[in-house]
Symmetry: C2
Subunit: 447 residues, 2 copies
């Protein structure tokens, strides 16, 4: 019966065949939290006191998929991670079955070596010399960025590991106004303080203005802060903008600062001969965040922190707990990567990427406002902005309630709510984008 | 062809049928790193320049399982996480297929509500009043423990979030000599410094001596440090010992300190009427780490941080990035849990647990030395200890090279290398344990 459960689930889940190629199907069958909590057509989220039978569990599995969001649907434009790669899915299923941990070579011999192979490949694509390069897979890009700040701080002040921030001067780090909020979050978590993250202005396309970076560094110094780290973004979350990496690298070099490139979104372009020019200068970075679960379409999660200097991860994070990392093992214990991480055990995120990479060694953000008829005749003005700001949420509400397509919206700096269309789902065709636009017009024209 | 690949893999992977019930099979087919890197019988880890075909990928999948460790094998005693629960596996496969993120209700409506249901259940099992209780699933117990230190610091000194450690006094935290190294690691990462973690002595069974805790706190205060946090362990990594929670809670109350219970390993006992007495006093904790992927046998990873005070996680970690957490959504945005975490996107770890819990609403460490014949006649002495220290690594080496069973070893404080037998694999029978003992004798008697 259990075997049947799994095989039944497998067949059902497969290429999510019921909707995968059927663009008529909905992206989501939306319900409000209270509706789902009350239980829909017998689908109860509550935990019973008595065990349910396998048939009921199978019904639960079906309902879980039914009321969820079909992130692989060709009309899902909502997130930077979209699409469902079938090879990657096979890799993830095998990973679950192997049910082991990226902790030591002892319990993950194959996956540990695969991680080394894949990271080395990524180093070479970045353009680091062969003798350089280290890294680790992390649970998401925010953690990768946190690692970069942690490493930069330790690199400059190794004493911080044992004696804490009270033993070192007040630090300052720099990131652009359009960068991901994880830099601020990292500063808060690491005890640096989010207010010591200096936000550098961007141009109207969302790129960091490098002369502003330089003057921000000078100002921080004059206030007695110690600048140590700059985050440059290659593919911002909203506009998909690329900061000028070479200009930023020059400034970092001049001031002796750690240069990090957050290429969580844009890293995938390094694989394109045509587009990798956008990341020119990335080879000068001390560390890089690159999430294959975004532009490369690997199933969630698959995120890396890549570090130029070998050994630094280990030095920064190791505590050499003998009861976990026995030094008297019979193989080269440098393969026991657990002590390099801040996590101890780590989920195996490498296999799906390795398998996909073997299968296919070869996207952009479009942001726009929709102006309902009523607003098309009004000239740009604070009044129009106030009205326009409410248009996207209203359209999104109707869109989610109907469930035929999904797209994200947000405000940014002085720009009121606008849509961001993400192109990274390989299932999406031109007709699907046309459908999206038609839907927005249909839902919004009367607003 | 792709469908066939997945179904083939699924059938092969299934209950890892080839070895699952066959105790004659090996736990691992051990190879040294250089052997795996050179490529075994055509199994190459290198990434090709040209795409491989599906048949080759299927062979790779088979080889990946072949050269890996069978953590579900009844004779795998090596780790705290062992066994392969088939319902949990089905849950993990569905999770991979859904391929979404624990970020907002928008993209994970069902999983977000399931998380709430499961966390609430865990709160009630701990014994917190109904109006209390918050929490989040984390990538591993080390991250859960890091959350606890982060929350305790913010609770005492909210200014640390924006202004960093330089705005607050020097902190001290307390944990036992047998506790997990993640407390020290958290102090290093958070900028508190690992040396400000005061290690409290344990009795000979590995339990924290509460009078020692009290005097350590007094000593730290007299040195001008500010004690703020105590970690009590419910199920230590090596001995499986339980600290005296009520005594520790009294001391924390007296000094006004945050009490955390690291029940990563022992939390599962809360489900046992007979054994939950070991965790008496856990309801007095401010936060609890509980890893269902350990004693409860949920596939990796499945780890939680449970927090008594509602709202603290959000307050501590939120940055309210409008472009990610739009405040003008059409549903209750308190369900957008992304800003509660330090991670932004999170892997969906709840579903497998939810499904297992529905399927079965209902284990210990044994540590020992093996004395080869030669050492049996020698009385305990530093000389015998020196010899004995080398026995377990030698046996383990032979054991891994042969691959029929696996068990961990480590030294601890003044005790030289000893074996730790973990009983948490539901597939293990009495004969398997007898087999393990016989193997140790066979491999070790001549040492």
């Amino acid at each position: 019966a259990i075997k049947r459960l799994i095989l039944n689930s497998a067949t059902q889940l497969l290429p999510q065949s019921k909707y995968f190629h059927s663009i008529c199907s909905k992206v989501l069958d939306f319900h409000y939290p209270h509706q789902l909590k009350e239980g829909l057509e017998g689908f109860s989220l509550e935990l019973p006191d008595q065990p349910d039978n396998l048939e009921q569990l199978l019904v639960d599995c079906r309902d879980t998929l039914k009321y969820g969001v079909k992130t692989g649907h060709p009309r899902f434009f909502n997130q930077l991670s979209t699409g469902l790669d079938i090879i990657g899915l096979a890799g993830e299923w095998l990973t679950s079955t192997a049910n082991t941990n990226m902790f030591t070579y002892e319990i993950s011999p194959v996956f540990i070596l695969m991680e080394e192979v894949v990271l080395r490949k990524m180093h070479s694509i970045i353009g680091w010399p062969e003798e350089d390069g280290d890294g680790i897979f992390c649970p998401g890009g925010t953690m990768s960025n946190l690692y970069s700040v942690l490493l930069a701080r330790f690199h400059l002040f190794p004493v911080v590991k044992t004696h804490g921030m009270s033993a070192i001067p007040r630090l300052a780090l720099f990131t652009s106004a359009h960068s991901h909020y994880s830099i601020k979050k990292s500063a808060a978590v690491l005890g640096i303080g989010s207010e010591n993250v200096i936000v550098v202005r961007c141009d109207e396309r969302g790129k960091m203005i490098s002369s502003e970076l330089n003057s921000s560094i000078e100002t921080a110094k004059s206030k007695g802060l110690v600048p140590f780290y700059v985050n440059a973004t290659a593919g911002t979350t909203v506009y998909g903008a690329f900061d000028p990496l070479n200009e930023i690298a020059d400034i970092c070099k001049h001031h002796g600062l750690w240069m990090h490139v957050d290429a969580a979104w844009g890293g995938g372009l390094l694989l394109s001969n045509k587009h990798r020019v956008k990341l020119q200068g990335i080879e000068r970075a001390h560390s890089v965040t690159w999430n294959p679960h975004k532009m490369m379409g690997v199933p969630l999660q698959c995120s890396t922190i890549l570090v130029k200097k070998k050994g630094l991860l280990q030095e920064c994070n190791q505590l050499c707990a003998e009861y976990l990392f026995q030094p008297d093992k019979h193989y080269d214990v440098s393969y026991d990567t657990g002590d390099k991480s801040i996590q101890c055990g780590r989920h195996v995120d490498v296999f799906k990427l390795w398998l996909m990479w073997k299968a296919k060694p070869e996207h952009s953000n479009v942001c726009f406002w929709y102006l309902p008829k009523r607003l098309q005749s009004i000239l740009p003005s604070p009044e129009r902005d106030r009205e326009l700001h409410m248009v996207a949420p209203k359209i999104k509400t109707k869109m989610m309630e109907e469930g035929f397509t999904m797209i994200g919206y947000q405000p940014l700096e002085d720009k009121v709510n606008f849509f961001r269309c993400v192109f990274s789902n390989p299932a999406t065709q031109r007709e699907d984008v046309d459908f999206l636009i038609d839907e927005i017009v249909r839902l919004g024209c009367e607003l």
